[in-house]
Symmetry: C2
Subunit: 140 residues, 2 copies
């Protein structure tokens, strides 16, 4: 798999497209080849390095929903020559099996520019806040 992403956004588009398609190989091609990559999917343990990231997405795709279609809204966008940081809201396009509205989560995607263009080096999801007026105590 040798694709070159000329911009961080190209890499990001490829990431979410591969997620929607459930295409593990294309998805992994968006990630940097180095072992310092890290991925925190919602409520999952940290995956560090190529093998762990592959396992994390393989498990995700094996959970009965081959592709995961997310609408992505950019909240903030910080870019330098070498690193791009995108703070996004990810909204699943499908409702839950019980018809519940999809859960929107925050995500940070960090890209690094290397000889092969821009690649994903870190993805971290964070849960959404609870309904307004009902904020829990901070995590202890």
């Amino acid at each position: 798999m040798s694709r070159t992403y000329d911009t961080p956004q190209d890499a990001e588009d490829a990431y979410y497209d591969a997620l929607e398609e459930g295409d593990l190989e294309i998805l992994l091609a968006v990630w940097d080849e180095s072992e310092d990559i890290g991925c925190l999917l919602p409520m999952q343990p940290l995956a560090q390095g190529r093998a762990a990231v592959r396992d994390a997405f393989a498990r995700l795709f094996a959970r009965g929903r081959q592709g995961i279609a997310l609408s992505v809204k950019h909240l903030s966008w910080i870019e330098t020559d070498q690193v791009a940081i995108h703070l996004v809201e990810e909204s699943p396009q499908d409702h839950g099996p019980d018809g519940s509205p999809p859960l929107v989560v925050y995500g940070v995607n960090i890209y690094r520019r290397g000889t092969g263009g821009w690649r994903l080096i870190l993805h971290q999801n964070a849960p959404p806040p609870p309904p307004a007026g009902n904020l829990p105590p901070m995590a202890r």
Copy 2:
């Protein structure tokens, strides 16, 4: 408040020290002066910009625990000339009011180098995974 942090780690040390001291002004001095900063504390809504970040920590400090002492373990560390990304585990040093063990959370701290040295531009927490063998379905 004019402090200069010569390295990302200097800024990070100042951040966690200020958190432990419950010192809002020093804490805010670690954050970049720009409006593109963002902060996602555990289960809280996104705070974007100086005023929102100030409010988020003011609320945190107002919750009856003036200072928050965290042990910080580095999981990964990616630095370029302009941006530094630290993936950490934050372990509260205090047990909960009911004696429950403290909840360890993941955190990403991103620093940017400007004319005033290194400053924090993004902090995002992510919840810890549930106990092994009991992973929930992915967030929908």
